[in-house]
Subunit: 233 residues, 4 copies
Amino acid sequence: MKSKYQQLKETAYAANMQLPALDLVLFTFGNVSAADQALGVFAIKPSGVPYAELTAENMVIVDFEGNTIEGDLRPSSDTRTHAVLYKHWKNIEGIVHTHSLYATAWAQTLQDIPIYGTTHADHTTADIPCAAPMSDEMIAGNYEYQTGFQIMQALEERGMNYEEVEMILVGNHAPFTWGKTAEKAVYNSAVLENIAHMAFLTQQIRLDAPRLKEALIKKHYERKHGPDSYYGQ
Amino acid sequence: MKSKYQQLKETAYAANMQLPALDLVLFTFGNVSAADQALGVFAIKPSGVPYAELTAENMVIVDFEGNTIEGDLRPSSDTRTHAVLYKHWKNIEGIVHTHSLYATAWAQTLQDIPIYGTTHADHTTADIPCAAPMSDEMIAGNYEYQTGFQIMQALEERGMNYEEVEMILVGNHAPFTWGKTAEKAVYNSAVLENIAHMAFLTQQIRLDAPRLKEALIKKHYERKHGPDSYYGQ
Amino acid sequence: MKSKYQQLKETAYAANMQLPALDLVLFTFGNVSAADQALGVFAIKPSGVPYAELTAENMVIVDFEGNTIEGDLRPSSDTRTHAVLYKHWKNIEGIVHTHSLYATAWAQTLQDIPIYGTTHADHTTADIPCAAPMSDEMIAGNYEYQTGFQIMQALEERGMNYEEVEMILVGNHAPFTWGKTAEKAVYNSAVLENIAHMAFLTQQIRLDAPRLKEALIKKHYERKHGPDSYYGQ
Amino acid sequence: MKSKYQQLKETAYAANMQLPALDLVLFTFGNVSAADQALGVFAIKPSGVPYAELTAENMVIVDFEGNTIEGDLRPSSDTRTHAVLYKHWKNIEGIVHTHSLYATAWAQTLQDIPIYGTTHADHTTADIPCAAPMSDEMIAGNYEYQTGFQIMQALEERGMNYEEVEMILVGNHAPFTWGKTAEKAVYNSAVLENIAHMAFLTQQIRLDAPRLKEALIKKHYERKHGPDSYYGQ
């Protein structure tokens, strides 16, 4: 008998397999989940299983409190971070965590990624936020659970909306991205790595490279996301 | 019944497919067009369609005012930039726009790429120009149309001829290249990325690396492009 | 008649073939050995043989004094380094040596790799040690044999345990990694290259990037290696 | 009827095809020749022909004065540089020219590549020489012919022997390598790119990284090339 979560598992499986295809992970250093907000569950990669051995069947179904609902394997160690975000952000159904090289390097510097060009502006009008490392008390507690709050707090402090900014660096750790679907969240992970790579090169060539001017930020964002958008079909 | 633009569409399709093969694009961040100056039209990639789903059939035929002549899909959002350049530059029939990593990083610094070696001189005798960002008024207007003028103006200010210099960086944005054919324009995109990469490394190793001496600039350019050229068959 | 070391040779062969697959070697610049501590022998790559020509059969069986026990080819020139480490470290059965790009570059700077993030902390709580170049007397003597002592001495000076820290840079030379199995030692080689690459990028972006805070170092290490570890299956 | 140079053409063809396989060339920016010192000829890549269209048959046979002996296509534009070197260096039968990224970047800085580690010392005991750009008079004359003398002169000024140092950077231009066979010359090209890449990274991490100590330079070179060498089979 097929699981009633079969479709969700297949979505999560396909999205996870995009991470090695897009060169965003070494070994098992990353995970994707696909959620169903109506059912209040998400499918996520099992912990420590190599991508070559993943199947739709071994995805783990978890609820928004982090309890395993279906599956024989232990879910990703980052599962509770995913759970917290799905619980609070009702309009997302996909989350990705990777240790991709350039985004992780920026996270290790504890610096936001400055908006230097239109590649960045095509996706968000703000610098990519880097959440400050959490307090020792939070680390000692339920660490992955707290990581979810660390992410939400960083957006809040900057007055950012999770529907406008779909990517963040967790300071000293690595990036998280999200979106309306798991596929969009994976897309955002690749875009973030690309933006991080270009910003790195830009700074290396010219340390005082200027941030993108406001008029260009707005123009590029609106042509893709505005009410009169004319990008895509 | 076959379109009378069938050949043009196939040329544009083949040239577009070279961009991922040459590692010049992530997702859909780039586009190639192939023009027929006699007919006054060009075939261009449809907007936002992944390279894996492109076919010769879904290329869009557009005239030099930017009007769609044939095709069911919306053309690339950069279409009007292509249109302006074809309208004014009568000896080109190919244009490429990418967000390739190194060329885009230089564009984000708002700096020309200095001519450091013979790899560069084999293709052009000048520093690769970086067009200054456009004014807020131009941005607020017909942005992609103005990008065409921004490019032409940058060459004009430097006394450059579009038949001698077939590549440019649009400041804060990314590169455009062109040529007598779409295939040559794609070739120029890969060459520009290569030149941009080498110039980056050269500056990193030695910030005050000297520009190439005049005698070498002339020699290398002439052996490939001069009246007594002896490069190629 | 099959060799009684057949299984060991196959393990060593499979592990060696991972090096080019993981992009850790150019030509023959690397080697893996797989040991059997009970039998007091290890199987190692023959010297100077391209990876494309390796087979399980041409692995060389060597004892912990460095004597060839079985095999027609000369073992890797680094064989005596492997022998010394197996002889003294009774809980490892795999060793890898590569000249991977980023780890080797750090080794050439004679600097430890600072712990900048959780990718590093997931594997070890310490900076990656760089063993000081050996004295001229040691070099002039039995060089590869002395390299084994150079590695052990570097750990000792830092109060490090080879079961906690499974990777080292040999100053001016290149990395060595080890583990309970050859497969784990190869895994450690790829992880070290990844850590070295991220640390390089981190320093380039921000020269004074802070080391990872203690609480995070402990948390990430324990969730993977501690008594209550909850990483993997 | 088969050409009497058939074997030489096949050797040159196979060696040329290694350049794209080793990621050392973009488009046609490189060439390999294979010489027969007894016959006084070499087979070289035709000029401007893409690697995908090369065959053993379209290799061009040239004598040591640079005259085409056999072949319908024009030989590589660098042919006279190859001819001069074969004429003067009687113990080499292979030469390679590429514009590989890191070696070319060093050539553009006009700096020798310092010997930072044993990867370098395994191949040569000296810094990789960078020949000074030639005088305007030499450039205006028979340029490629003069490039051969520029290379020989750079070795001579440093008291280097072409049998000990098989690689050089031509200032502002790009690398040349050579060897007893075309295959060895290609190997040297890949090694040079690897050394150039590592030296770049080493300098970026630590600008004042020390050169390799003398005792290690000698040890590593001798274990591979000395009378008691014990590297390889």
